[in-house]
Symmetry: C2
């Protein structure tokens, strides 16, 4: 190999970062892979647009075929976004024997398995480190680093927008709507924030992580999802009193070959490593059978962090080319998917109720839990101020999701329970 | 390659972990490297000793030459400890063209450069992932993952014993001596804890990290070291009031090509990612120019976590064997060492003084700081209880080490300053 040629699909902020890093670190990269790397063609929408970085105009093209069909191009780097059309382009690239590196989580969450199959059929690599938690090398850690271990649990703060919103709500005592507006003004939330705040973006990333970590094809539809739009300042205040911090947490857990994957607002005990992940930062907490608890923290997005991950992927493709082992990454699911039922998903719960202030109410409520053998870790009864309803906060010991939902239904039917104000999963660190 | 043969020096807890992981994950490992791995010889002190794992007796030997001179052995794994004698054995192994994987931080901190030179001369790999922060793949992250980035700062909690002690002191309000005793009983501290509590163990690891991260040969003697034996419960209480957590922090920082490396008790703002690292856990915080702030958290010691890192190193050696690129890791220092002077090391400081309770004292003290253009971020004056001295806590903005030490000297000379109770570096996260 005298030179490796790269074709770039897209030249937005991340694409520009890739070009910049390859230029700035040419010497370091060459040292690692033994030959120069060159960006040969870049697909753009317009040739005349002004850009943040200087690019030789002859490298730019508006014709995707200049990238997909150039026999000299070894690796196609996709940083244009989109799902359906982009999938077809990448299949074409793979069928033309080009390795693919992508940062596209929407695409990988939906068509990841299909694309990996096409890649393997063509003896090509398909890498996507930048698709989850931008600058954090979490996919490589799961696939390579823990190759000599078995992953039992992954918990992630994998959406920067919602973490920014929850951090601000927690620190400033501001409402969800106020903070969302601030996040939009600062560019941390989109004009239409639905995909972030409803947990869909996080769910896509958890589907990708669970697929790799458990070697099972986990689809987006397998992920149970709840967003952050219902969280109130009062919830966060109660959490503080109990020593908890609220985060939008993706959980992927395996027990006896069965798997649960979910995304939901979760109260973490303050000593949990994820509890102190602030603002737009991401972090993924991984439990391995041998290694125990580990956590990887860093920027979840941004031009250069994401581009750093893409360039790391390019380096691995190039090393694999020299090894002659492209298309052999052990990332195709090995096991049949086997999801837990609600009776098999166990968790602690935070439950906040408004109840009538009369004798016997507390006994009535707690007896429902006793019937299911669920005991309490913490109980907080608030003083009644100018009203006839009292607020009660209960934190349970481990309960199955099925039992807990059964109890919720029966609480709703009780005369004395005026309102189920909120209900969240509670997680604490095993090692702390 | 039909088979890779490994020779093990030592079969203690970590060595047993290595044997166990290789056995348990044979299939996964073979998938990654394309051929089986076999532990061919193990050097032990006694053939008859009872062991935690079952090993074919014919594999055991008490003669080190059975490992070093066996032409079939490709990789020597050193998990026996020791420095001088062990160095000579590993040089012999490298001269016999055997790749070396070691978990020995004492050895690597002192003879790392020499051993890496011998390895390169022989075209052999020398890897030592397990020597820093046991189960955390921090060395690989620095060397490979950030190959397309430039590291500007590393901060580490790299000693589990001291972190355990400080966590307990912080949570329980117990004294250093009480907690040390508890740590010794639980096996988290040695009978002679000097190397841990005086910061030497952490300094060795920071020398290794700084050498790799800045590509300069940083010796143990270049690391300024202060241990935790002088920390009192009162210090921790004051820190809490100010929103700080006390940790033993290794700092390696580069500015304009000049480097500082130190280990010292440090107050971290509670929002710093390292502040919530509890008990015996380790974590390394890495700032890269492109990637920004990242942190890697996990167990710093233990049989299986450490063995996991060793097996990861073995996998890389084997991949390199297939690539024919052994001995070419870019870990030999590229740059001339260039340490900062005290005038170039900047930090915030926490300073706790006992002063006489008389008019003008505060002006006298603060004017010393004003002379050096150092202003204050926080000032805490405590109510005087039944004594004639008042306690004052000052937190400065950034000051050079030289200026600050000059001020300390002059404070000692002041009549009104009865006692300099304590003085710590203060660090906060840039991103939080």
């Amino acid at each position: 190999m005298n030179e490796i040629s790269i074709g770039l699909l897209g030249l937005g902020t991340v694409g520009s970062g890739v070009v910049q890093i390859i230029e700035d670190h040419q010497e370091k990269l060459m040292y690692q892979v033994g030959c120069p790397i060159k960006v040969k063609k870049i697909l753009v929408k317009s040739l005349d647009k002004e850009r943040a970085i200087e690019v030789d105009p002859s490298v730019l093209t508006t014709d995707v075929n200049d990238v997909l069909f150039d026999p000299e191009i070894d690796i196609v780097v996709e940083v244009m976004g989109g799902v359906e059309q982009t999938k077809n382009l990448l299949i074409q690239a793979l069928n033309n024997k080009k390795h693919v590196v992508t940062a596209n989580k929407d695409l990988m969450a939906v068509y990841g398995s299909e694309l990996l199959t096409v890649a393997a059929e063509n003896g090509c690599d398909l890498f996507f480190e930048a698709s989850v938690a931008g600058g954090i090398p979490i996919i490589r850690t799961i696939v390579d680093g823990l190759a000599s271990d078995r992953i039992t649990k992954m918990m992630g703060i994998v959406n920067g927008t919602t973490n920014f919103i929850l951090t601000k709500m927690n620190n400033g005592g501001a409402s969800y709507d106020e903070v969302l507006k601030e996040a939009q003004e600062l560019g941390f939330a989109e004009a239409d924030p639905t995909s972030d705040v409803e947990g869909l973006d996080a769910a896509r990333k958890m589907a990708i992580l669970a697929t790799l970590g458990f070697s099972m094809k986990i689809d987006l539809a397998d992920v149970s999802v709840q967003g952050i739009t219902g969280i109130t300042e009062e919830d966060l205040q109660y959490g503080k009193q109990l020593g908890y911090t609220m985060k939008l947490i993706g959980i992927a857990q395996e027990d006896d070959g069965k798997v649960e994957v979910s995304v939901q607002p979760t109260f973490l005990s303050n000593s949990h490593p994820l509890a102190s992940v602030q603002n737009e930062y991401n972090a993924v907490y991984v439990c391995g059978e041998a290694v125990g608890e580990t956590m990887f923290y860093g920027p979840g997005a941004g031009s250069l962090p994401t581009a750093t991950s893409i360039v790391s992927d390019i380096v691995v493709v190039m090393k694999n080319m020299r090894l002659g082992v492209n298309g052999k990454s052990a990332i195709s699911p090995q096991y049949q998917k086997n999801m837990k039922s609600d009776a098999e998903i166990f968790s602690k719960y935070f439950l906040r109720l408004q109840v009538s202030d009369s004798i016997g109410v507390f006994a009535e409520i707690t007896s429902l839990f006793a019937e299911h053998n669920i005991s309490f870790e913490k109980i907080l009864q608030l003083p009644i101020q100018k009203r006839v309803v009292a607020e009660v906060v209960l934190v349970t010991h481990h309960a199955s999701k099925r039992d807990f939902e059964d109890i919720l239904g029966r609480l709703r039917d009780l005369q004395s329970v005026k309102n189920i104000k909120s209900c969240y999963r509670v997680e604490r660190s095993t090692g702390n």
